[in-house]
C-alpha cells in the first residue's frame, strides 16, 4: 500500500484535492504520513467518515498526549486542551454549559439583530460606493460582531483581533512562533475579559462560563479561557469565510445566481448545497483514535491507531450524492457533514445557517447588479479557507 504525504495541498479554487476523490473511488481507507508524529489512516467514504466522527469507539483526547507522539501538522503536541480535543464525559460537561445558548430556538431570536448588523454594513458599503472588498465590508464584520456580542466582548479592536485570529488558524501560512504568539495574545485577551466579567457580570456567554466556573465548579479556569478563545475564533472564521465563499461562487456562476435571484425561497436549500459543496477546510486539525479494533471498508484499524477524516470530502461521495461535484440547488435531501457529526457537531450550526441566510439574502436583494470586480485568490495554509479579498461592483 502506497503511503502518501499528508495533508494534501489545497487546490487554487474552493474544490477538493483530486487525490481525495481518487482515494475515495479506489482506496477508501489508506495510509498517510504526517509532517510530525509519523503515519496514520485516512478514510474518505461517507459511511466510514460517519463512523469515525459518530462512533464512541473513536476518541480525540490522545492528540494531547506527548507520550503518544500523535500524527499532526504542527511540531508541538498541543499543550492546552480545548473542547475540540475532548471526549465524553468531559466534552459533554463543557458542551452542556453553553448548548442552550446555541439551540435553533435561541438562534432564531438573534435573527433581527443579525439583520440590523447586515443592514448597517451594507448601508456603509453603499455610501462609500464601488468597488468594495466584500470580505471587509460584510463577510467578516457580520460574523465577528454577532459572536462578539453573544460572548460579551465589548469594543473589539477588529483589526488587531483579525490579525491574531488569522494567524491562530494557520498551519503553514505563518511561522510557528507567529502562530504561538497569536494564540497567546488571544488567551491573554480573553483572560482579561474574564476578570472583567467577574467584576461586572452581564447577560452574555462569557458571564455564563465564569458563573459555571466560580459558582458551580463545572469547568476549570484554563478550560474557561480555552472555551472563550475557541468560540470567538470558530464563531467567525468559519462563517465569515463561508459568506465570502458562497457569494464568490454565486457571482462566478451566473446560472446559479440567476436561479436564486429568480426564486429567493430557494436560498436556504442553496445554502445547504453550498455548505456541502464548498471545501471550507484546509489542513486537518487532528485525527481520531480507535479505542478497539474497528473495520472500515474492509480495512482493520487497530486499537490505538489514528484516522483522519474530513466531512467535506465525504460530501463528495457518489454513494450518497448523485453527481457529487455538481452544484445542484434542487437535491431532494442534503445530509452533508459541513458541520461535522457526533459529539463535535458544530455547536454554532444554527447560528451559522441564520447568518448565511440573512447576509446573502439581503446582499442579493439590495444589489441586483452585484458582480465581481477583480480576481479572487483563496487563502492557503490555514485550517479554514476563504477569499483573501472579494472585490465587487454594483
Amino acid at each position: 500500500m502506497e503511503i502518501r504525504s499528508y495533508p494534501f495541498p489545497d487546490p487554487d479554487d474552493l474544490g477538493v484535492n483530486e487525490t481525495y476523490l481518487r482515494l475515495q473511488r479506489e482506496e477508501p481507507v489508506s495510509r498517510v504520513r504526517l509532517p510530525y508524529g509519523g503515519e496514520a489512516w485516512i478514510a474518505t467514504r461517507y459511511a466510514d467518515v460517519k463512523t469515525v466522527m459518530g462512533d464512541p469507539r473513536f476518541v480525540r483526547a490522545p492528540v494531547m498526549d506527548p507520550d503518544r507522539d500523535p500524527p499532526r501538522t504542527m511540531p508541538e503536541v498541543p499543550g492546552i486542551s480545548t473542547i475540540l480535543s475532548m471526549d465524553p464525559p468531559e466534552h459533554t460537561r463543557l458542551r452542556r454549559i453553553l448548548a442552550k445558548a446555541f439551540t435553533a430556538r435561541r438562534t432564531a431570536q438573534l435573527r433581527d439583530r443579525a439583520q440590523e448588523i447586515v443592514n448597517d454594513l451594507l448601508d456603509r458599503m453603499e455610501d462609500q460606493g464601488p468597488p468594495a472588498d466584500l470580505m471587509d465590508a460584510l463577510a467578516m464584520p457580520v460574523a465577528i460582531t454577532l459572536i462578539s456580542e453573544m460572548l460579551g466582548v465589548p469594543n473589539l479592536d477588529r483589526a488587531q483581533f483579525r490579525a491574531w485570529s488569522d494567524a491562530a488558524v494557520a498551519i503553514t501560512a505563518f511561522t510557528v512562533p507567529e502562530i504561538e504568539a497569536a494564540a497567546a495574545s488571544l488567551r491573554a485577551y480573553i483572560r482579561d475579559l474574564v476578570e472583567e466579567k467577574r467584576k461586572h457580570p452581564a447577560d452574555d456567554m462569557l458571564t455564563v462560563l465564569v458563573t459555571a466556573h466560580d459558582d458551580e465548579d463545572r469547568l476549570s479556569e484554563e478550560e474557561l479561557v480555552s472555551f472563550g478563545v475557541t468560540l470567538l475564533i470558530a464563531g467567525h472564521e468559519t462563517t465569515g469565510s463561508e459568506i465570502g465563499n458562497f457569494v464568490y461562487t454565486l457571482l462566478a456562476r451566473p446560472d446559479k445566481l440567476a436561479e436564486v435571484r429568480a426564486d429567493p425561497s430557494l436560498l436556504p436549500t442553496a445554502i445547504e448545497e453550498l455548505l456541502r459543496h464548498t471545501k471550507l477546510s484546509g489542513a486537518p486539525a487532528f485525527p481520531r483514535f480507535a479505542t478497539v479494533d474497528v473495520e472500515l471498508s474492509g480495512v482493520r484499524i487497530a486499537a490505538g491507531e489514528a484516522v483522519f477524516v474530513d466531512g467535506l470530502v465525504a460530501n463528495r461521495d457518489p454513494e450518497v450524492f448523485e453527481n457529487p461535484d455538481e452544484l445542484n440547488f434542487h437535491r431532494p435531501s442534503i445530509p452533508h457533514f459541513a458541520f461535522g457529526h457526533g459529539v463535535h457537531h458544530c455547536i454554532g450550526a444554527p447560528l451559522a445557517r441564520m447568518e448565511l441566510q440573512v447576509a446573502i439574502a439581503t446582499l442579493l436583494k439590495r444589489f441586483p447588479n452585484l458582480r465581481l470586480a477583480g480576481d479572487v485568490a483563496i487563502k492557503k495554509g490555514r485550517l479554514v479557507r476563504g477569499p483573501q479579498t472579494l472585490p465587487v461592483r454594483w
Binding site: G54, T92, A104, S333, G342, H345
Partner: protein, 73 residues
C-alpha cells in the same frame, strides 16, 4: 424509582449524531433520524445529557408522572 420515557421528534431531528454518540445505549440513527432504542428506560444521566446537548432540542425525556426531565427551558 419509576421509568423515564424517551421521545425523539423525527420532524425536528437533523441527525447530528450527538445523542447517538453521547448515549449509544439509548439512541440509534435510522437513516438520518435518531430513534430511542427503548422508549422506556431506567433513570440515567446520559439521556439528560443527550437531550440537553441536542442542537435542535428534538429529544423529550419525561418522568413516570409525566413531568419533563429534559430539556429544561
Amino acid at each position: 424509582m419509576g421509568k423515564w420515557s424517551l421521545e425523539v421528534d423525527g420532524g425536528t431531528c437533523i441527525g447530528s449524531g450527538m445523542c447517538t454518540a453521547i448515549a449509544p445505549e439509548h439512541f440509534r440513527l435510522e437513516g438520518d433520524t435518531s430513534v430511542p432504542i427503548d422508549p422506556s428506560v431506567d433513570p440515567d444521566d446520559l439521556v439528560v445529557d443527550a437531550a440537553e446537548s441536542c442542537p435542535v432540542e428534538a429529544i423529550l425525556v419525561r418522568a413516570a408522572d409525566g413531568s419533563v426531565v429534559a430539556p429544561q427551558p
